[in-house]
């Protein structure tokens, strides 16, 4: 069993609103980005001498560019509806992790430099100078927000707190204060083509291994194609699917579904990443560069369809941003959505009776489903509202006999974040991640107690990485964590009924 080094919240099965503990999370800080990554991404390597002027100028630029940001700075009435909705406040008890208090770190500076009352009255108008201390607070607490937007759901004004976090991070990057994990990951994605920095031949070697592995287990020669020109489908998936456990089990699921559907498909070694951390730091240019590789792959491989693997924030980027970043997708077949989520694809095949699924293959499991925040609150799936909730659940129900949902206040659009999205999967903040996952763990504990839940199904690479890491701290096995297509992979009957 794992060594427990941190204070792990007690599991009771209930989410209690904690009393305040000032500065409880003040010491939790992401590491600064190395000089090389800052330089490569066009940022200064350390805080520039005229950082205050540059930061205010950047703030002004963002307020002009994003009208929404200005509205979000102006309209908060501090009603408090968001205060107890954030997993980081519930987990750390730090009052500055209440979304309104975190946003106030930026708002007080906004008032000082961009409102008349703040310019004239200063502190009387709740305005504050941008000082080194304030900037440090920004760095601490805007890297304690996963941009999950649960607070926004409960905000009567619809203030998108994630956008506030993104703006603060973009301002800090510009003056030379960047965080290592998200920025190094962005740099790898831009230069090598995926977050993990895996060159094409390394991915191919993994795919070869998976072909052998699936053949050995099933006796069926399921292919894992890469860089095949003219294949019907180009699959864009997070690179963790080529490297990590349990991610790779979902990759096997996708391959088996394509095999059984008789549809030709390919991965791309050049565009080997669905993830796009550019969004986390609010940098449109980085987003465009990362997504640009997909456009190149479409032009080279000439697929008819574009399908997207299991990844939460990446699906938000794909669903909401690809069209403006790299669209329009004129060369693709207009009969299909572009992009289409792998869950939509599999769900469609199940509905048409094109897949034979043996539910008993998953009889060892009582499955529950964790809605990933960027899928739940920032995108959709299929043709009807709520498809992003119904489709993955329908797939799960088709692949197992025992499914149970967690408490209604913790699923669907009200889902709790895994505690590591938004560029917070870094090891140095594991303490924060353990506390941030607390609400979700309470909900899981409740269905464990009531229904014996023992399989935690996901459609997000970051969620998979976070839960496999934090489950042992709470005394659960990492093997309980898996992908929706991992369940498909286990249940699908290969052979028998080829083609559609």
């Amino acid at each position: 069993m794992a060594k427990v080094k941190f204070e792990v919240p007690e599991l009771t099965g209930e989410i209690a609103i904690p009393g305040l503990k000032e500065d409880a999370a003040a010491a939790v800080k992401s590491h600064n980005a190395p000089a090389k990554d800052m330089t490569d991404l066009g940022f200064p390597t350390e805080l520039v001498p005229d950082w205050k002027e540059k930061a205010v100028a950047k703030f002004a630029e963002l307020l002009k560019k994003y009208r929404s940001l200005k509205v979000f700075m102006d309209i908060c009435v501090k009603c408090g509806a968001c205060t107890d909705k954030c997993h980081f406040y519930l987990g750390t008890k730090d009052p500055r992790n209440m979304p309104v208090a975190r946003a106030e770190l930026l708002r007080k500076v906004y008032r000082r430099y961009f409102t008349t009352a703040g310019k004239v009255l200063g502190k009387l108008a709740e305005a504050e100078d941008l000082t080194r201390e304030v900037m440090e607070e920004w760095y601490t607490y805007f890297y304690q927000c996963t941009e999950c937007r649960r607070c926004s759901l409960f905000c009567p004004y619809g203030i998108d707190t994630a956008e506030i976090t993104m703006a603060a991070r973009e301002i800090m990057d510009t003056v030379g204060l960047g965080a290592k994990y998200p920025l190094q990951t962005i740099n790898k994605a831009i230069t090598i083509g995926n977050n993990l920095g895996m060159p094409g031949p390394a991915i191919r070697s993994t795919l070869d291994f998976m072909e052998e592995d699936v053949k050995e287990q099933t006796g069926v020669p399921v292919k894992f194609p890469m860089d095949v020109k003219g294949a019907d489908v180009l699959l864009i998936t997070p690179s963790a699917d080529f490297f990590a456990t349990p991610h790779v089990e979902s990759l096997a699921g996708y391959a088996k579904v394509f095999h059984q559907a008789g549809i030709s498909w390919t991965l791309s070694s050049y565009a080997s990443e669905a993830g796009n951390f550019g969004m986390f730091n609010g940098n449109y240019e980085h987003m465009r560069k990362i997504a640009g590789r997909i456009k190149v792959a479409i032009n080279e491989l000439k697929p008819k369809r574009l399908i997207h693997g299991e990844c939460g924030h990446a699906w938000r980027v794909a669903y909401s941003f690809w069209n403006t970043l790299i669209g329009p997708f004129d060369s693709l077949d207009p009969k299909y959505p572009a992009p289409q989520h792998i869950c939509e694809f599999t769900y469609d095949l199940i509905n048409r009776g094109a897949l034979k699924l043996d539910k008993t293959a998953n009889d060892d499991f009582v499955v529950t489903f964790h809605d990933s925040c960027n899928v739940a609150r920032a995108s959709r799936m299929g043709n009807s509202p709520g498809g992003q909730f119904e489709i993955p659940r329908a797939i799960i129900r088709a692949t197992c006999n025992k499914f149970v949902d967690m408490h209604p206040d913790t699923i669907r659009e009200k889902t709790f974040c895994c505690g590591a999205g938004g560029g917070l999967l870094a090891d140095e903040i594991i303490d924060l991640r353990i506390k941030g996952v607390m609400p979700r763990m309470q909900a899981y504990k409740a269905v464990k107690d009531s229904h014996g839940a023992n399989f935690f199904a996901l459609i997000c690479a970051i969620c998979k990485a976070q839960f496999t890491k934090v489950f042992p701290y709470y005394g659960y096995e990492m093997e309980e964590v898996g992908g929706v297509h991992q369940l498909v992979s286990r249940a699908i009957v290969l052979g028998g009924k080829e083609g559609i």
Binding site: A2, K3, V4, K5, K180, Y181, Q184, T185, K188, N195, L196, G197, M198, P199, P201, A202, S205, T206, F209, D213, A240, F242, F243, A244, T245, V248, L425, A426, D427, I430, A465, T468, K469, P472, Y473, M478, E479
Partner: protein
């Protein structure tokens, strides 16, 4: 740059403890890095893993899928989640390979792998 003494000489490490030059590696260097990382003994099993990681890196410039390590070394299936009773990142360091980068680190760091 810190240097590390081993039986037969000394080698340079980077600030995070990775061997500065991949070519400076031999089994005596491996033993010295292992000791620095708190691994008391490089058993045959562990050396096998370390050599696999090293050969894979030289060929593919990447960390292999953990499941691939298990299969290639004919280890039991559980090896994929708790590989070779050894922290894979330490195995990587002992193999004399460079810092694998932040995203690889976040996937492999953690409490899952007993140190000894």
């Amino acid at each position: 740059m810190p240097s590390l003494k081993y039986e037969g000489g000394s080698v340079e490490l980077d600030k995070n403890g990775y061997l500065a030059s991949i070519n400076a590696w031999n089994e005596a260097v491996a033993a010295a890095i292992a000791k620095r990382e708190g691994i008391s003994k490089l058993t045959e099993d562990r050396l096998e893993v370390i050599k696999f990681l090293r050969n894979y890196y030289i060929k593919f410039h990447s960390f292999p899928l953990l499941k691939m390590v298990c299969t290639n070394l004919h280890k039991p299936k559980t090896c994929a989640s708790r590989p070779f009773k050894m922290d894979p990142l330490k195995a990587w360091k002992v193999a004399g390979l460079p810092n694998p980068g932040e995203e690889i680190l976040v996937y492999l760091q953690g409490p899952l792998h007993p140190e000894e």
